[in-house]
Structure formats: C-alpha cells, structure tokens
C-alpha cells in the first residue's frame, strides 16, 4: 500500500527543523529568521501527468552521465484497473541520510538548509552510498567515476532560480520552496494538503500529496 506513512504536520516539522540552537527551540517555522532557508519539495500526484519533462530538464541541467537520471518519473503501467500511474522520484534529502555514514571518504554532507550534497573532490566513486540509499537515488557516473544524485539544483538556487525539474513542470505538480517562509507556496500547501513520504521510507525533504481517488492497485 502506498502512503501508509502519512505524517502529521507536527511530526513533519519536527523532522525538518534544522538542528540549531535557534531553530530547535521552536516547532513553528514562521518564527524563524526569514533569511534562513529550509528547502522542501512537495509533489502533487493529482497533477503529475508523467510527461517526463522534469526528467529531461534534469538531464539537460545537470549534464549527468549517460545512464544517470537524478530524477525520473516511474511509470506503473501494469495495474489491474488498466490505469497508468506515475511517481516522480529523486533524492529524498533525508533527515538522517543513510548514505552519509556509509561514505568512507566523508564526501557526503547534510547542509543546514536540508540539502544532501556529495563533494566530488572527495568522492572516489566506490558506491557505498548507492548501496545504502533506501530511495535508489544515488548512481555511479561511470564517466567521471563519482557518485551522482540530485542536489535540488544548488547552483540554480544560488542564481535565484528554482530547480530545473520544478521550472519544467507545467501542471505545477512539483512545488518547491522555503518552509521557513510562511507565505511560500510550499509552506501554504503543506498546511492545506495531507502529504506523506514514500512508502515506509525515511523522512527528508521530498513529500507527496497522494492521488485523491486511487482506484485499483496503487504503486507508490
């Protein structure tokens, strides 16, 4: 069954508040200083058309090596009800990333804004993170012999632009923003909708709004 791990808003906030003295004392994001960012992606499966625009936009943006897809839309086309279903996937930027301690080179870091990065200056591409990742979101780039994964388009964020997958999503199935900003579309949506993480997997920075009418077998 999908979405058997729905979080309450309270539980959600507890998981994403950065472990810093200022923030940990409060469970209410809006009281935090505005200039601190805490990135979250919220994917509305009621809007995802499976068009793969995000997948291709990610390839175009990241220049990921052949065979590496840092985000993609999984297609479930063998449902008994004949309906095709979709699940956009990417690095979950887990609160407690399993990849981080697995990396013997300490190339993986969890930033204060929630993003999990891999430092290619340290990475030797041996793939411990690939094995450790419960989301199947780390891949080995065989051209550069490094581990690769989504970094929420950190360089675009620096330039004041949303991640490539978010910009390319015409039906606005991917919302992305700073949950420390109470007016951010993501913050608003998190208040409005019931959301969850992927089936039984650890919480992080990617959440899903389940399809409202899941007819027949579902696949998230």
């Amino acid at each position: 069954m999908p979405f058997d791990h729905a979080l309450t808003r309270r539980a959600f906030l507890q998981t994403i508040v950065p472990v810093s003295a200022a923030a940990a004392s409060s469970a209410v994001a809006s009281t935090l200083p505005e200039k601190i960012c805490s990135w979250v992606m919220l994917i509305d499966l009621n809007r995802c058309t499976g068009c793969q625009s995000c997948t291709i936009a990610c390839k175009a943006e990241s220049g990921a090596a052949r065979g590496v897809l840092n985000t993609r839309v999984l297609v479930y086309d063998t449902n008994a009800d004949g309906r095709i279903k979709f699940l956009p996937t990417l690095c979950n930027h887990c609160d407690t990333p399993a990849c981080l301690p697995a990396c013997p080179e300490t190339a993986i870091a969890k930033r204060e804004d929630g993003i999990v990065t891999i430092d290619w200056a340290l990475c030797v591409g041996e793939g411990a993170c690939v094995q450790a990742c419960p989301y199947d979101a780390c891949h080995i780039d065989t051209v550069n012999v490094k581990a690769d994964k989504c970094d929420f388009c950190l360089d675009r964020l620096q330039a004041g632009r949303p991640p490539a997958c978010v910009e390319s999503c015409a039906s606005k199935a991917r919302l992305f923003g700073n949950v420390f900003d109470p007016e951010d579309a993501v913050t608003v949506a998190l208040k409005k909708y019931k959301y969850t993480v992927r089936n039984g997997l650890p919480a992080g920075r990617v959440f899903y709004i389940p399809r409202s009418e899941v007819k027949g077998g579902a696949n998230v």
Binding site: C37, C48, R83, W120, N144, D155, P162, S168, A170
Partner: protein
C-alpha cells in the same frame, strides 16, 4: 533592478514567483547569503560548464549569455521558447512567459518589459529541452550530397553548391560517373505549358510533374515553398502531410463546418466535462502536453473538471480519468452514434439552439453559431437535386420567379414553420423552425406530381442513428451499453460545459470521416459548440504577415497553377477523361484506377506517393521532399521503397533534410536543411481551441550548415532562391518583392523575405515601437538583428517590440468570449447534414456517399472488411506517440533515448496467456503485408484493450545514424566529423536503431496494387485496422 515587473494576473506564476521571480536577481540574491551557501560542503561536482551556467544565468547581453525568445519545433504544438546562448552555443532552453502555451493559457501581460520577463520561470516539455541534441546532432548534414551509386545503396558524395543547382535545374546524364547512361531531365524540362496528356487536358501542364511534399510544414517557410512551386514554377503539386498528421478527426470537423475549420477542441480552461476521443492529451496533442494536458491535470486536481477517455489504450491520462472506455479500434463512430442516439431518445439535446434556423436567431439566444438542423433536404428519388439541401428556387417552377426573389442575393435554404409552411431559412424575424419533421412540398405553380419529399437535416440524422439498435452499437464498439449510456447522460447533463477533445485516433481509418463527424455532432446536440467551456476552434492569427507594407504574396509574372493534383485531392473523377473514356466504352465509368477525393481537406502525401508509384494520373518527373520521411512515417510506407528506388518510375528526387533518413536514402540529391534553432522562420497561429496570437520564430544561433560563396547558408530557402535564379523564374532575385509605393526590392536570401514578414505583422497589429532598452536587448541578442537594415528604422523598432516577446500575444484567453459566453471567432454555421459530402461519389463503386452521420465499416477501397480477410492475424495494431518524442527525427533526442531506450509491444494479459507470451519476452510480430515481421520486446499490461497490440512510434530506425553508410569524405559531410566516421564512411550506432517501428506492419490495399490503405472518401490513411500475429522469437 527590475522594480517594474507587472504581472497582470496575480497567481499566474504563483508557486515559484515569490522566491525566484518577482524581484529578479537582486532580490533572489538576498535570500542566499554567502555564509549560508557555504554551510554545507559544496562541490558543484566538477562540472565546469554547469557551474558557469549557474553563475551567469540571466546575465545581461553583452557579457556572456544571449537570450532569444522564439518558438519550439520539438513538435508542432507551437509553444514558445527562451533560448540561452553562450559563446555562440545553445546551452539552455526554457519557456516564454508571454506565450499562452508556456503558461497554461495564463501568460504575463504583453506590455511587461522584456527585461522583467527574463528571470521568470517558464516551463517547456522534454522535447523542447532536447533542442541542443537536435541542433548539434552529429548526424546532421552540412553539405549537399549526390548519390554515387544506385539508389538505396547509401553511397553519396558531397558536391559543390553550384553543381547542385545546375544539375537539378538543367538535368543531364547526372550519374554517368558510375556507369548510369540514363538522361535525367532537370526542372527546366518541365517549364513548359504543354499538356501532360492532350487527351486528358484536365490534368494540366507538364509543370504539374514537379511535386513538392512538405513533411514538417509551418506558416512562413510553407508560403516560401508555395511561392516557388506554385506561384513561380506553376505546379499545382505542393502537397502537405495533413493525412498522416491526422486527417480523420479533421474530416469530421470539415463535414461539420463545410471545410471552413478542421480543428476544434474542448475548451481546456472552462469545460467541466471533456470526452477524449483518440487524443493523447498527456503524451502528445496540439497544444502540447505542457499546455493542454497540464491545464487539464491541474483542473482535475482542483476538482473543476472530469474527463473520460475513449481509447483502446488507457493512455497516460488514465491516471486522472473519470472513466475509461476502451473502444475497439476503428469503432469510435459506433460509440459516438450510440451516445447521439441516447441524447436524442432522452430529449436531452439543446432544442432552442437546434431550432434556430439562421445566424440572427442563434445570436438572439446568445450563441456563437447556428446549425442547419432545421433546413430541409430533398429526399425524392429521381429528383435532379435528390440528396441536396432544398433551395427556395426548388419550390419555384418558373425560373423567372427565382431571380426576381427580392430579399436575399443567394438562394436561401428552406425550413418549415410551426404551421408546417415552407419559409426561407433567413427570412427576417424567423426565430425558430421545425426540427424533427418531414413534408411533401408542392412547388409554386406545380401540381401534386411535382411534390417533393423533404426532411429536416435533424430528421435524417435521427433516422440514421435509429437504423441500428443501441445494443448493436455497443457490441460494435466493444463497450458495455450501460457505460455508454452513463457517459451520454453525464455529457448532456453538463450541457454547454461538456465538449469533446478528438484527435488523431478518432477517425484515422477508412470510414473515419463519419466517425469523427458523429463525435463532432455530440457538441452540437448539447449546444456547447462555439461556447465558452465547449467545443471551440482556434481564434487565428494576431494579424497577417504576408501583406502590409511589403507584399510577400503577389509578384509580376506569378502563375496560377491548375489541373489535377497527383494525389487527386479536391478533384472530381467524373470530370476526368478517364471517366469519359470508360463510360464511352459502354461501362459505368467506374472504378477509377485509384480513388479521387473530391470531398477532402487534402494534404494527401500518402496518395501522392501512391500516385507517384503507380504513375497515376500521370508521371512525376521531379520530386522534392522537405523534412519528410514517408517510408518511416506512413503505415505500410515500406511499399514505396520500390518506386523511390526506380529512376524509371521517379526520375529525379531531391530531399531537403537534416540527415540521411529511411526515405532520402533513395534520393538523388540531399540538400542540408536548417533546424528551427538556425532557421525555419515561422508565423505560428494557435491550435484550437481559442486564443488569437502569432508566435514568431527567428534563429537562435548562426546556421551550422555550409554556405555559398556569397555567405548564405545551405538551406531550403537558399536552394529554392538559387534554383529560381538559375531558371529565371519570377518572384525571386533582383527586384522580386513589390513595395506599396510601386518600387521593388530583392529576394536573395531568406531574411529578405522573412524580416519583411515580421515587419508586416508588427505594422498590421499596430505594435508600439520598442523603447531603447528593448531595442538594445534585441540587437545584442537576436541573430535576426543583422538584417535590420532591410526595413525602415521605425519598422525595426516595432519588430523589436515583437521579437523581444517572441511574437504577438496581446489578448487573453477570456477576451475571445462575449458577455454571454459565445466565442467571438467561432464558426458561423454548422452542418448536421452536409450536401457536398452527399454529392461526392465513391470513385471505385460509383455510389454516392451519405451526407449525414452513418455507421461506416473499415474496409479496403473495394469494400472488403479487413477484419474478415486477415483472420490469421488475431490482434489489431494500435500505435501512439510518447511524451518525449515527436515523429521520425526524435531518435536524436539523446536524453529521451536514455529514459526510454526502446519501445515495447503492449499486450493484454488475457492475450498473452492465450499466446503463451511472457512479459519482457522477445517476439516476432507479423502482418499480412509484413510476413517477415519485426522483432521486439513485450510488455504485458491491462492498459491495452484485449485483442489489441499497442506499439509507439519513434523507434526501429535503420537510418538517421543507425546504419553505416558509404558516404565519401563523410567526416566533412556530417557535423560529428571524425567522431562518427571511419575509412568507409558514416559509422552507424545500433542504439539509434533500437525498438520497433509499427509502420512496417501497415496493411496495404490489395485491389489498388498494394499501396497503403486509405479511406476512399477523403484519403485518410489507415492507422487502426492492421491485424498482426505475435509469436515468441524462440519458437
């Protein structure tokens, strides 16, 4: 920095605007303090290019990046595109926030300064993102090629431009170098006004033996080729590819609007119930997936819309569909007729609308159009006008009275008033007429023996619908009757907010015009046509581009081609010498050798090729093909291989294309074409539904192809201009473009023509002149600015206003409806009965076609049902497009090919069990005309209807890089150079040949000599009735 951003509709860009858009760079930068950025261990993964790109995004022109607003051609959906160029290289593509198609019909205000628009996020789909992989594809041609061996051997050599022009124009013993002594006539041989056949003068002059078929046509370069082929050379054979694009559904709309409009769709913004017939809304369609599909998805998510899918495949949209009706392929008409019957039986149609007999009566009801439902049709065997609409003059026996008829200049139609009396349909004050009625009318001055039986168009439709029981329709279409009834009841309950979205799948088979007509009539019965929320046509162009200050249409010496097209489209067989001859010989005159298509939208590339292959009705001397790959793209297209390979059948074939494909492998010459990022200037109007705009495409980068001695790129336009100059044709070269004041200017290069088109458009709209910031922006960013000296400074400033926004998008979606919801640019009149269709004659059987809806069978041209003859092949082949692909060239979509490296044959588990086939198994798929079969991998899925095998297009290439070819000096011919070449020539990449091409299995028409199966009424190619057998490869 960007203080004055004006977003007219708050919320249009809502989810991302706050953080990323409103304040531009300065604001955004404040969110990302340097200390914060250094909080984690950041490495940008060693990708220098990516890092640079991130840092220079939206830097002003003059530094490192250029930005150009233009239009995509990843497919023909016509979305806008914002291209980012660094150091002359295209690095990124995003959307145009001014363009309704990149903003789910809700763009930023047109007056927003372009500088403020640049930081705004704007989506494009995966196909657009692949632009660099099309532009920089290693298999692109840079130089003209001439074959250096027999056709189809793949032996080519690069030649000089001058040689290309001379040989194509003048002909000669062109292939003597390898022992072919044959004389090949060039274009000049056909520059005569001799008749092709003095015994058949209707065919026209030998000029018609020059044929040009455009695969990827769009307004702009289409008119440019028209200018050459039709206006300057004088051949009638400028043929488009409408038939394989989707003629079936277009013919339904053609019958409905009497040819005035072929594309209508459900209003995606305001409809509340959409019935999707054979339209792949989440994977293809025009407007495309990020416009129409995304709008529908968002509205379903918001609870504002339900849609039901009628399709043998679930399609990706099944994820959000209200209901799925997995119809039998080719039986959409039966399902629609069952619904129509239900709506009539339950009297849930829009009576007031249907009873309005004329435009003013409909307008009084607040409607955008009226129907001929109340107009009378002559149903009198033996009457000279039997089957036609009754005219007022038919009721006047004495001719004089007709001409003296005072009121209307035209001979009006006739309706019955409430007392049963006949009245002209347009007589003043007539608000309503009898709808479901028939009568015997005696003409004035006549007696009972002159009486004419007449029925209303509505009555004829009803009789046709009632010719079969509902249960029969349900059985024919393979959908439970209860489901059809439920959908019909829902559809009529939503009334003006219910509409159909029909596309390629609805009617792409023999008889498909009638299926699509029935589907279109659903919108008429519930009254949603031409209404907000209903079934709408496109609003058309913002203004004309080919007239205005510069006349790009007419020129001295312009020809007016005439005669019969090689496809026989829009020509009447009964006017031919062949018919007269057969009749004189004592026969009925039938059958014609091949069908003629008097009642069609046209664009019949399939029948053109069948005509060329059979040299009927005459021989083609020179064939030009542009961006056209018929062997690959036409179901059963393989059959044309023989004709294309034989110089006796087709003496000269010149292809203009970006690469060597499955078809121009057989060409004598291949001229390099530009991609849409370097050329293909275009003026793009909206697809249905709604909107009124003109998007403009100009180049993003300088052409990559080689160039002439005087510096013009090798391209379609340069080729046609130089051919015209060689042949001294009018309309090209020195003084070819007339000015308003009587002067003339020259046409030596593409820009001479297109920049004046842009100037015309800007002037005709009355755009303001760009301010100095926007002027600087365009001049520093747009390659087309190099040609600003060709127009006046004032015109250029107007052009800059347009170019800085990628076109003219000065109207909003809702502007197109009046206060009562009628579409201002809608149809005027809709036909429930089409007398022109009723007047068309089947040129094989000699029987008249019906003028109303009817249940047609899928048959070959001689009336034999395919299902009955191909019983050895138990499954019906269904084909479709995928969301990351277009048609024949998208194997070059490098990233898409990573996401989906191959396609599959989808089978229902029930069929798989019967055939003992497993998921993922390698199988051989055969058909009657492809007994050798094609091989592929299975996917067992309940998403396809039992009895069907679904295979997407796009795969199974043998060319465009998939095979090695003996091209001389290949490293100088292909963009990829040494990287893709070896001592022999081009080195093929087998990955590009992955997957299955379903068109290879296409059913052919046996009695017509094994040419692809088409509909005999209008030439619709068959995509839905090929039967296939599948067996495991191991056995």
């Amino acid at each position: 920095m960007f203080k004055n951003v004006r977003l007219s509709h708050k919320g249009a860009m809502r989810p991302i605007r706050r953080l990323f858009c409103t304040g531009g760079l300065a604001f955004a930068a404040s969110l990302f303090l340097p200390t914060h950025l250094r909080a984690g261990k950041i490495s940008l993964k060693g990708r220098v290019s990516r890092q640079e790109r991130g840092q220079t995004t939206y830097a002003r022109s003059g530094t490192q990046s250029r930005f150009v607003y233009t239009s995509c051609l990843g497919c023909n959906a016509r979305c806008g595109m914002r291209a980012q160029v660094q150091g002359g290289t295209l690095v990124e593509v995003s959307g145009n926030p001014y363009h309704p198609y990149n903003s789910a019909f809700n763009p930023i205000d047109y007056t927003t300064p372009s500088e403020a628009s640049l930081p705004l996020a704007s989506p494009v789909c995966g196909k657009a993102k692949e632009a660099p992989n099309i532009l920089y594809n290693p298999y692109r041609l840079l130089k003209p090629l001439k074959r250096s061996g027999a056709r189809g051997t793949g032996k080519f050599e690069p030649i000089e431009w001058a040689q290309l022009i001379t040989e194509v124009a003048e002909g000669g013993q062109l292939f003597k170098s390898f022992g072919d002594q044959r004389y090949y006539p060039g274009l000049r041989a056909y520059m005569k006004d001799d008749l092709i056949d003095p015994a058949a003068p209707e065919l026209g002059t030998v000029r018609n033996q020059v044929v040009f078929i455009g695969g990827r046509d769009q307004a702009g370069y289409k008119e440019f080729t028209d200018r050459f082929i039709k206006d300057a050379f004088g051949s009638i054979n400028r043929i488009s590819h409408t038939d394989i694009c989707g003629l079936g559904f277009r013919m339904g709309n053609f019958a409905l609007t009497d040819g005035k409009q072929v594309e209508l769709k459900a209003d995606p913004v305001n409809a509340e119930y959409i019935l999707v017939f054979g339209a792949n809304i989440y994977e293809a369609l025009q407007p495309g997936i990020n416009t129409y599909g995304a709008t529908l998805a968002a509205r379903v998510a918001e609870g504002k819309l339900k849609f039901t899918i009628v399709d043998p495949r679930s399609t990706n949209a099944s994820v959000h569909a209200h209901r799925l009706l997995p119809v039998k392929p080719g039986e959409d008409g039966a399902l629609a007729m069952c619904m129509l019957r239900r709506i009539i039986e339950t009297k849930s149609y829009d009576v007031a609308f249907l009873r309005a007999p004329n435009a003013s009566a409909a307008a009084a009801l607040g409607r955008g159009s009226y129907t001929n439902a109340t107009h009378l049709v002559i149903c009198e065997e033996g009457h000279p006008h039997n089957g036609r609409m009754l005219r007022w003059s038919d009721l006047q026996l004495e001719k004089k009275e007709v001409t003296s008829e005072a009121a209307p200049a035209e001979d009006p139609f006739v309706v019955l008033n409430d007392e049963g009396g006949a009245e002209p349909h347009n007589i003043g004050g007539l608000q309503s007429a009898a709808l479901d009625a028939e009568a015997r009318l005696t003409p004035a001055g006549g007696t009972a023996k002159d009486a004419i039986t007449v029925k209303t168009a509505f009555r004829i439709m009803k009789e046709e619908l009632c010719a079969h029981r509902s249960e029969y329709y349900a059985q024919r279409c393979g959908v439970e009757l209860s489901e059809i009834i439920a959908v019909a009841d829902e559809f009529s309950a939503y009334g003006h907010k219910a509409a159909v979205c029909q596309y390629h799948g609805a009617g792409n088979y023999p008889g498909g015009a009638y299926a699509a007509y029935a589907i279109a009539l659903l919108n008429v019965l519930v009254g949603s046509i031409d209404m907000r929320g209903g079934y709408l046509k496109g609003g058309g162009a913002a203004a004309k581009w080919n007239e205005g200050p510069y006349d790009l249409k007419k020129f001295p010496g312009m020809r007016k081609p005439s005669g019969v097209r090689i496809s026989r489209e829009k020509s009447v067989y009964e006017s031919s010498a062949e018919y007269a001859r057969k009749k004189a010989a004592g026969g009925s005159g039938y059958p014609a050798e091949r069908p003629w298509f008097a009642f069609t939208q046209g664009g019949l590339c399939v029948e053109s090729l069948s005509g060329i292959a059979q040299q009927y009705p005459y021989k083609c001397g020179v064939l030009f093909t542009y961006y056209f790959n018929p062997i690959y793209s036409i179901p059963g297209g393989d059959t044309f291989t023989r004709a294309l390979a034989d110089p006796e059948v087709l003496p000269l074939h010149i292809s203009i294309d970006v690469g060597i494909n499955e078809s121009n492998l057989y060409a004598d010459y291949i001229v390099p074409a530009l991609t849409y990022l370097e050329g293909q200037y275009a003026f793009l109007t909206p697809h249905a539904p709604g909107m009124k705009f003109t998007a403009v495409r100009t180049p993003v980068v300088a052409p990559l192809t080689g160039h002439t001695i005087d510096g013009r790129p090798f391209s379609l336009e340069t080729f046609l201009i130089d051919l015209a100059k060689q042949l001294a044709l009018p309309g090209f070269g020195e003084g070819a473009l007339p000015l308003r004041d009587g002067g003339h200017i020259s046409l030596h290069r593409a820009e001479d023509y297109y920049i004046r088109g842009i100037a015309n458009l800007a002037a005709n709209v009355g755009l303001p002149e760009a301010d100095s910031t926007e002027l600087r922006f365009v001049e520093a960013n747009y390659p087309v600015a190099d040609y600003k000296h060709l127009i006046t400074p004032q015109e250029w400033r107007q052009c800059c206003y347009l170019l800085a926004r990628g076109g003219v998008f000065n109207r909003r979606y809702e502007d197109d409806f009046d206060s009562r919801g009628a579409h201002k640019y809608g149809n005027e009149k809709l036909l429930v009965y089409n007398e022109r269709m009723a007047g068309a004659i089947n040129s094989i059987t000699g029987k008249r076609f019906k003028g109303s809806v009817c249940l047609a069978d899928v048959t070959d041209s001689y009336g034999t049902p395919v299902a009955k003859t191909d019983t050895d092949y138990p499954l019906t082949l269904v084909t479709y497009k995928m969301n990351v692909h277009a048609q024949s060239r998208s194997g070059w979509h490098k990233w898409s090919m990573e996401v989906f490296p191959e396609n599959y044959v989808y089978l229902h588990p029930q069929d798989a069990r019967q055939l003992h086939i497993d998921d993922g198994e390698r199988v051989c798929i055969t058909s009657r005309h492809c007994t050798a079969g094609v091989t592929g991998t299975t996917r067992i899925s309940p998403s396809v209807r039992p009895g069907c095998a679904a295979i997407s297009f796009h795969y199974g290439h043998t060319q465009l890089g998939a095979s090695s070819l003996a091209v001389q000096a290949a490293e100088t011919v292909f963009l990829g150079g040494q990287r893709i070449c070896d001592a022999i020539g081009l080195r093929g990449d087998p990955k590009l040949g992955a997957g299955i091409l379903p068109n290879r299995l296409g059913r052919l028409d046996v009695p017509l000599g094994n040419t692809p199966l088409v509909d005999v009424l209008s030439g619709i190619p068959d995509f839905s009735s090929t039967r296939v057998a599948i067996r495991p490869l191991k056995s």
